[in-house]
């Protein structure tokens, strides 16, 4: 629906990814210099100028698969490698966290504050690297320019577009379950108490007016909730207090990253649909993707480079088990279906795209680990 949704989706998911990686890098005792390099490399790639230019162009959201591919690529933009199970888990955590934030943000415009919370945190990650900080800052200003004056109705449309994107995802996340903000069925808890959104009155009052417009009666009613007046409005500037806590870092060493996988709730109707309906636009999408990825340069990983593997699970055994667990076929991200078309011209274009991927593949041939991305592209 809204053509301004993609930048917010990408930046917020990216922000969540960085929170998780930051926590895992520390939990796995990765040396500080290497951890720093990973965070810096990923942030540099994420806010690549050309990539941002493409991202901010008005456009529809693309499919879950295409977006997942972008994040697979982004997670591997440095010397760190994730296997399929860890990448799956990372992506599940990111998406559920942002779904929670979109669903719970008190009013549609607060999606921007959620985004700013992520941007603030990303700036903190690169505080001591002025050139990267500048790069992030530029996107921050672009966000403010583009979004801060949009009307509430447009924000609601953006929110509704995001909610359609996240519809039917009910993965249980232990940090949410522990905090009692998610139920065991995967649905998020909606509080019926606390402060109302900025600009909203506490429900419970009926005012009646006469034909001269004078107030003649006030009647109170019991609305069923326990709300209090709103907090002050968060800052929509480059700096300032956001007030809203959604979108800030909820992980710490004492609150590790963990998901509960439940196969049944994951294989949702929408997943199935996306796969059974052949998509004649897959080519367009890949075209766009290839274009976007032009800006994302893959890091070569030589054995002397000090590359390492990050595990999203508490132990290697657990990770191995998760890898062996066969995920439902429709969820495997290995295959991107492309309709073979008769049109010669289209074929050439397609070949071009495939070549583009191949070059990146070859660049990776030298590495021993990190085969997952190769596997990902094998389907082409």
């Amino acid at each position: 629906m809204s053509l301004r949704t993609l930048p917010l989706l990408f930046i917020n998911l990216g922000g969540e990814m960085l929170y998780i990686l930051d926590q895992r890098l520390r939990a796995q005792n990765i040396p500080a210099d290497k951890a720093k390099k990973v965070m810096n490399d990923i942030i540099t790639t994420m806010f690549n100028k050309k990539f941002m230019e493409e991202l901010f162009k008005p456009q529809e959201l693309y499919s879950k698969k295409a977006l997942r591919t972008v994040f697979d690529r982004l997670a591997h933009a440095s010397i760190m490698r994730l296997n399929q199970a860890s990448m799956d888990k990372l992506y599940d955590l990111m998406t559920m966290a942002f779904k929670y934030q979109v669903l719970l943000c008190p009013r549609p415009k607060d999606i921007l504050l959620v985004t700013f919370n992520h941007m603030d945190a990303i700036e903190d990650f690169v505080r001591d690297s002025p050139s990267i900080l500048n790069q992030v800052d530029e996107t921050f200003r672009q966000l403010i320019d583009l979004y801060s004056c949009l009307p509430a109705g447009e924000f609601q449309l953006i929110r509704q577009t995001l909610l359609i994107f996240f519809q039917d995802m009910h993965i249980r996340v232990s940090i949410f379950l522990k905090d009692k903000v998610q139920n065991s069925n995967g649905r998020f808890v909606l509080p019926t108490c606390g402060p109302v959104p900025w600009g909203t009155e506490v429900p419970g009052l009926i005012r009646t007016f006469n034909s001269n417009g004078e107030e003649v009666k006030r009647v109170e009613f019991v609305n069923g909730g326990h709300y209090v007046g709103s907090l002050r409005e968060g800052s929509y500037d480059l700096y300032g207090e956001r007030i809203l806590k959604l979108g800030t870092n909820m992980y710490s060493v004492s609150r590790p990253v963990e998901t509960h996988m439940s196969g049944t709730s994951k294989s949702s109707a929408s997943h199935a649909k996306e796969n059974t309906v052949p998509n004649p636009l897959a080519k367009e999408e890949l075209n766009l993707l290839a274009h976007l990825m032009g800006g994302l340069e893959m890091k070569k990983m030589n054995s002397g480079d000090g590359g390492f593997r990050l595990n999203l699970f508490t132990s290697d055994e657990e990770e191995e088990q998760a890898t062996l667990l066969t995920r439902p076929e429709e969820l495997s991200n290995k295959v991107i279906n492309i309709q073979a078309t008769k049109d010669q011209h289209e074929k050439e274009e397609l070949a071009q795209i495939m070549d583009d991927f191949k070059i990146q593949e070859e660049a990776k041939q030298s590495t021993s680990k990190g085969d997952d991305l190769l596997a990902l592209m094998d389907g082409l």
């Binding site: 009013r107 549609p108 577009t161 909610l163 519809q167 109302v196 909203t200 429900p203 009646t208 069923g224």
Partner: protein, 336 residues
């Protein structure tokens, strides 16, 4: 008081869209039809009155591209005209009209994307029948398209375009009481909160324009010359349709209201919002002072559900149905 009845399972969950539930009672067959939009699909259920038999049908938005977000349906609603009822679907591509049971598509109107600035999404939203043989549909550019519907057949024509709104249309409603010769019988609402009140007919005439007060009007209803409008601020306002005067203002919900409905025979009003509450109200006309009063009757919390559609299922307002984002069911309530 209302109590929960057995709910109706639907094939796929409801999307977060305004007024995402439409109800059509088919009295002679003892059936009730329901529709709920899920992405690019419309779930249709017909339920027998005894609540034992259900039959399902799914309609897809067939037009245009197949990327999920570009073929999203924005609303599905039945329009009841004196001689026929049609199911109208609005999407990012255009307007589809089906026979009431969803079996045959009788009309397709493509939206023209050329006039819209490039960053603006193009879609249709807001559906209502008006004065005998018209169906009005709103668009994202603020236009209201008036279609002339023949008593039967597919010869549907675009009769008039109303260009009073500057922002995307959110909802359209026509007078639901049977009163004849009312000076105004249609109301259109937009994203900025502006309401336009019309007298429908051969030429649609603007009766009054109720200016915005800074918040989207997401749902609107009209009953006995009175307009009930629901806003993103969680407020409901009751206006006189002709003068635009405010009769009452209610701080009704803690979040955006997504749906309003009015029971024509009793004046009961229903509002459903993102705060997970459905509130039932009652409107009553005070003839001596020529004003309208609203009182609160009932409050129902649908735990952990952001409500996106709620409708009465009978003209008295003794039963109502609710659905919400990510929910695969239509929850029904009955008065006790």
């Amino acid at each position: 008081m209302y109590r929960k009845e057995k709910s109706i399972q639907i094939k796929s969950s409801a999307s977060a869209l305004y007024n995402n539930l439409s109800v059509l009672p088919i009295l002679d067959k003892n059936l009730t039809y329901f529709t709920v939009v899920h992405g690019n699909t419309v779930n249709m259920v017909s339920a027998s009155t005894d609540g034992l038999n259900f039959s399902h049908r799914q309609l897809q938005s067939k037009e245009g591209s197949v990327t999920v977000s570009s073929s999203v349906i924005t609303q599905a609603s039945w329009c009841v005209l004196p001689y026929r009822a049609l199911l109208v679907l609005t999407s990012l591509k255009g307007i589809q009209m089906y026979e009431s049971d969803g079996s045959i598509m009788v009309y397709w109107h493509a939206l023209d994307a050329l006039e819209t600035p490039p960053a603006q999404a193009v879609f249709a939203r807001g559906i209502a029948a008006a004065s005998g043989h018209y169906i009005c549909v709103g668009t994202s550019s603020g236009l209201v398209l008036v279609f002339d519907i023949p008593n039967k057949g597919t010869n549907i024509t675009l009769a008039e375009v109303l260009a009073e709104h500057r922002d995307p249309i959110t909802d359209i409603a026509s007078e639901v009481s049977e009163s004849k010769d009312c000076p105004a019988d249609l109301v259109t609402a937009d994203d900025a909160g502006v309401l336009c009140v019309w007298k429908s007919g051969e030429d649609f005439k603007l009766v009054s324009k109720i200016s915005a007060y800074g918040c989207t009007c997401s749902s609107v209803k009209m009953w006995k010359g009175v307009i009930a409008a629901a806003y993103g601020s969680g407020q409901i306002r009751i206006y006189d349709a002709v003068s635009g005067m405010v009769h009452a203002e209610v701080n009704a919900h803690a979040r955006w209201i997504y749906a309003l409905d009015i029971a024509p025979d009793s004046g009961k009003l229903l509002s459903g919002a993102e705060d997970s509450f459905v509130q039932i109200w009652k409107l009553s006309q005070i003839l001596e002072s020529d004003t309208v009063e609203i009182e609160h009757c009932h409050s129902e919390c649908v735990t952990d559900v952001q409500i996106c559609g709620s409708r009465f299922c009978d003209p008295e307002g003794n039963t109502f149905a609710v659905t919400g984002y990510d929910l695969c069911e239509i929850i029904r309530y009955i008065q006790i």
